[in-house]
Symmetry: C2
Subunit: 758 residues, 2 copies
């Protein structure tokens, strides 16, 4: 096996004038050095067609595998070295001499929209990659003579995936088929395969992509990256396995992240707090390329509505090219931003009207008898976003009751007397999950007695294999341990999509249910034929088909599988078709919407700006619960991710587009000490969109976290009039609004600092 | 990669007292030495369960992977060495010290039936492995007062497969799945996988068997051999790829062959030559193990009937264990023997009645209006052997006319005047082909534009890939070059049987037709949706769906495949299910019977006994012809195989069971010079048993070859009263019956020699 390393751009924006690889090639242990010019003859397409289509996109910004003439962000790959080991490959990469002509970089997306701004990409006449409006109803009328109207600006920062393991690609030539097997840390192995087919010009059956346990996905591993073409191409050219593993620096500069959103929004309400409308603008920092289309800011915009009746809505969304790594979804996929804006606006209206924050939400909530609830928002496919089921008021009521919301003011007053600044915050959310168009699964019983589920779904620690095995085990009357799940291997499942949009239990789960049911019926038919007992008198238990009332009787499903394997020249028993197996595809008729309420209690130290999380209550409704332990694990992980985004994660760039936070000393993530015990309760409103009645749960924990923390922090610091409109909520940002100046820390804590930190 | 060699028994029958492998293990370059005791802990079953079930079998004689206590034929594997290269492995094998206690061997199957005979296997009380009767009607009545009745003995020898390439196994551990990939020269990869699963105790999804082009199959590669377990097991134990390639000596002593049959039969006929009945006994040399059940002599027995109305039939069949390599089918699978007996008997009756050999056949032939013709013979599944279609008289008439049968006596007389002994022979046959229970195939159109057919059928040079691609290309309107066929890979096709019984065009072909038709319909539906044109107005041509009358219009099927691949979150077009693909299984309702007539003209040199083939005419009916070139290639190869069996191939053993013909200097095969130009004409009687109307053709050329040659040789040597009742027809056997003694060769050519050569 050989090892690859990439030479990456040190400039946010530059023209490549020349590349000299001679010294690198001459280094002992180097097998190959590739530039864009070297690989061009072997690629069927000059750029990776990663973009997802949308009429709103004005510039298609597909990346190159290796930059040929222009680099558009620090970290963009310019050359690849393949060597006997990684150290040699890195040493050789440093010997490559690239002659760059630096260009002006676009770092601030709002400034990038200015007609006089420099161009972030030489091939685009301006920096507006896409713009669109989300809305419905008559906002003009809603705001006319509105009893309450207010405006607010939000600067929302969202970090990266920061999976436990970075990305990695191991490509192994398969001499028997003149093909390539690619072990790839992707959430989307079938999409990776399709793009490899397109880029390398190989037929489908000579490309196999396997996504094993990938050490965490969280969104960035949805994206198909240049390394995923470069490494397989090198393996083919060299006839050797080639591996590349992302190092942590590369994860900061070459793996996508969610970037800043700047919201400028107004809200109008009646005197009793009932919403009339919301309008405004959203500027979205899109990064340098378009590997995901417009889904991310689109999710932000549509998710704002949440569980509320919002009569009118009008948001103008602009996606701006900047010289940073591309922005693509991480857990929550833009929804935390929409939820943050809505929940903050509701808190503002409540404050203005002197309403309890729970009351204003209760007054605006969609009632269970309004389900299915048709919002005014159009979906990607031209339909209308429709919530399928849920009891939002019950969900919030349970959370508030658990949190002791009604008694909090008393507790808060007592704490303040004791010099402690505690606060409570509340946020509701709705999340569209279980997205299509389909997922595929096969179930096969082998004569060995083992059962294999093969699926296009992928496993990255969500517990997909466990949930799918559970569904199958229930149908076939076998122990979980009898089932193996092959997820994310294009050779095992020719059809598939993969992991995104909290979709796999709903889609792959339903496909497994369907395939398992067919297999169950066939087992009963085969056993009926062999035992000469009516299917109605048979039952499945412990891997056997037993005659009802006679434990240990009957036949094992392994023996039935052997019968149906087929013996040369002998008829199959019972007139049955061969194989104790079935394949199924589930195509969800529509998206299914989970929902929940988080209530957070915090304590803030006004001298240091430190926020301590005292209590975290989640009431969550993801439809039928298949495995509470897994759902709760997902929620806890999601909350931790949300805590990071609310309080710690901040990917910063200087004015030239140089990233300044590329280690975990500079870029903070919550550790175990920062995550409180999370109290979880469930409601179960079955979804009508799939036979299991399930909804997604993988991202939901993240969505309301920052909104709830912001509300709690404001509540804790209410005596000081602190406003939280920016993420992350750093101590410095809080201290800048606090009138108390620590003598120890001196002048840096004046309010004037706030403007200096966008 | 490491290399394996096997230590094989030098005795036909012996007890293993002890094995000392120390010296072998100590040799430099040796990685492992395995005996039965070494591998026993790693095997789930002590013997390979290769037998195919039959109630007639008295002793189940499954082989061990490595012999533990008893060796039953020369060549049986006793130990395996794995080393850095084959030469080292062989050197080490020679260093293994096996202490054998020789036992009496059974070599002659007739003698083996004697109650006082030694036992060929210590674990069997006698040597009769199975016995059964084939027959129907009242033979007693048929022979009572029969105007003509005669009896004849036949000793029929049939050799081996002698494929261009011997067997081979390359096993490669797959660390990613803790599984094993086995490249195996098998006709039956799915059966090999099932047996590996059973023997190694691995679940099905961790075993992949790939049967690439295997250098010729011909029957022996149907069998699953000990090496096919031993090599994968070694690869797993050593964690390295291990390869074993059969050498030519091993092909003679460790690969199955067809062995001797001894027929003692009587025929009864009316005065006009119409058959009344046939009865007698068949003793079949079964070899030392039972890797195939009773199918081979059963085929011989049932095939005797051929295209004739035979009112009564009674054959007593005995299978005898001998200390030779097991007997399993080679091309024709026992049918050449049955055909030989029937055609020889018809010639005898014709001679006795003074009838033309064509006339007697014509009088007994099944007429086309009798189709489907129900014979009296029961099939394996309890049905009755029923010929599906065919015009046997027309087939023979065409052959005789082409051969100038009517004018041959004149030509023969002229030749004799010139001192040349020419003769003509005729043989008809019927062959059951296209056997079930099923075959599977998938057809998948990729966005690359390439189409993949995956099938459980296997390719060994028969042209399976071409025929399957043709069937698909016709349906999808694409060029053959757009199609790749993956045959014989258990990973590509989870269901499958493989190559036997001339079955693949009928079974896999029909499965491909079915799958292709489904894909065609889906292509039209997808194109109709995309183009907004009714399917009836669309046509498929050159990989496009065109609007009728507008060449170049429309859309490529590659683009339709891309549409149906599914894009995350976007609905599939036209309400269609994902994937431009279909899988199908074809289960033939019954066997389909091909037939034909061969007419052979020979010249025999009475001084040397040399037989020269002057002319060979085949009229063949395998139903609808999918690809005449391939059918004719198969027939030519089959005839060559039959010529070898008739004139050259003779696997001989001495009285102790030592094989004496284990090189191609001792064992003769026909070369190009021995095979005449073969003139082929076709009739096409479509089979009603499959939608293509096809029948098998792969073995048919072999079936009547020996019978036709025997008849022609007898005819050529009629003036000398020579009788041909034994195969092969060696010069020595002919000379023994010829009154002319060559002065050069002396006393060895006296008639008395005949008895000495059984």
């Amino acid at each position: 096996m050989l090892h690859a390393a990439f030479l990456r751009s040190p400039y946010a924006h530059a023209r490549i004038e020349a590349i000299d690889t001679r010294a690198a090639r001459a280094l002992a242990g180097v097998h190959a050095v590739y530039t864009a010019a070297d690989i061009a003859p072997h690629l069927k397409l000059p750029r990776i067609p990663v973009g997802m289509p949308s009429g709103a996109i004005r510039h298609v910004l597909d990346p190159e595998v290796l930059a040929s003439r222009e680099v558009c962000h620090v970290g963009e790959a310019v050359a690849m070295v393949v060597a006997q080991d990684r150290a040699t490959a890195e040493d050789a990469a440093r010997l490559i001499d690239v002659d760059y002509a630096p260009l002006a970089a676009v770092v601030d997306p709002v400034a990038g929209l200015d007609p006089g701004a420099p161009r972030a990409r030489l091939d685009c006449a301006d920096n507006l990659v896409a713009s669109f409006r989300v809305g419905y109803g008559d906002c003009g009328r809603a705001f006319t003579d509105a009893p309450v109207a207010l405006r607010e600006n939000f600067l929302l920062h969202k970090g990266g995936g920061h999976s436990m393991e970075g990305r990695g690609v191991l490509a192994q030539p398969d001499p028997a088929s003149d093909g390539i097997v690619v072990f790839d840390s992707t959430q989307m192995p079938h999409r990776a395969k399709a793009l490899l087919v397109a880029m390398l010009g190989l037929p489908e059956h000579r490309v196999r992509v396997v996504a094993p346990d990938v050490g965490g996905g969280f969104g960035p591993k949805f994206v198909f990256y240049p390394e995923e073409v470069a490494v397989p191409l090198a393996a083919r050219l060299l006839g050797r396995p080639v591996r590349w593993l992302e190092d942590r620096w590369e994860h900061f500069v070459a793996t996508t992240q969610e970037r800043d959103q700047i919201w400028d929004v107004e809200i109008a309400a009646d005197q009793d707090g009932r919403l009339r409308g919301i309008r405004g603008t959203l500027v979205h920092d899109h990064g340098a390329y378009t590997p995901y289309g417009i889904a991310l800011p689109s999710n932000s915009a549509t998710n704002l509505i949440g569980p509320y009746v919002l009569p009118a809505y009008d948001l103008d969304v602009s996606l701006v090219i900047t010289n940073k790594v591309p922005a693509t979804p991480t857990r929550g996929a833009g929804r935390p931003q929409g939820t943050f804006v809505m929940e903050r606006l509701l808190d503002r209206v409540a404050e203005k009207l002197g309403l309890d924050r729970g009351d204003i939400r209760r007054r605006n909530m969609i009632a269970p008898d309004q389900m299915p609830y048709v919002t005014g928002v159009k979906t990607r496919d031209g339909g209308t976003m429709t919530y399928d089921s849920g009891d939002y008021p019950a969900c919030m009521a349970t959370a508030l009751e658990t949190a002791g919301w009604g008694g909090f003011r008393t507790r808060q007053a007592e704490a303040r007397k004791a010099g402690r600044h505690i606060g409570i915050g509340l946020a509701n959310y709705v999340e569209g999950t279980g997205r299509g168009p389909f997922e595929a699964a096969g179930v096969r019983v082998g004569p060995s007695g083992r059962i294999v589920i093969s699926t296009g779904a992928t496993a990255q620690g969500q517990g997909v294999a466990t949930v799918l095995a559970q569904i199958c085990a229930d149908q076939l009357g076998v122990d979980l341990s009898a089932i193996d799940v092959i997820a994310g291997d294009t050779a095992a499942s020719p059809l598939g999509l993969g992991a995104f949009a909290s979709r796999q239990a709903a889609t792959a789960g339903s496909a497994v249910l369907s395939a398992s049911h067919i297999v169950r019926e066939k087992i009963l038919a085969a056993a009926s034929s062999r035992l000469e007992v009516a299917p109605a008198d048979l039952t499945l238990r412990d891997g056997r088909v037993e005659v009802v009332g006679a434990p240990g009787s009957g036949v094992t499903i392994a023996d039935l599988a052997r019968d149906l394997q087929g013996l040369p020249g002998y008829a199959l028993p019972g007139g049955l078709a061969p194989g104790l197996a079935a394949e199924a595809v589930f195509e969800p008729p529509a998206i299914t919407y989970c929902n929940g309420t988080h209530v957070v209690e915090v304590e803030v130290d006004p001298e240091t700006g430190a926020v301590r999380l005292l209590r975290w209550i989640v009431v969550h409704d993801c439809g039928r619960l298949l495995n509470p332990t897994l759902v709760e694990g997902q929620i806890r992980g999601g909350v931790a991710h949300g805590i990071g985004q609310a309080l710690y994660e901040w990917m910063r760039y200087d004015d030239t587009g140089q990233p300044t936070t590329t280690t975990y000393a500079d870029y903070l993530l919550p550790g175990a000490a920062e995550v409180p015990r999370i109290e979880i309760a469930h409601l179960e409103s079955p979804s009508p969109q799939n036979p299991l009645g399930v909804k997604g749960a993988g991202e939901s924990g993240t969505i309301p976290a920052a909104a709830a923390i912001a509300a709690a922090v404001e509540d804790a610091l209410a005596p000081f009039g602190v406003r939280v409109t920016q993420l992350p909520i750093t101590p410095r940002r809080l201290l800048a609004q606090l009138p108390i100046v620590s003598e120890d820390l001196g002048a840096v804590l004046t309010p004037g600092r706030q403007a200096a930190e966008p």
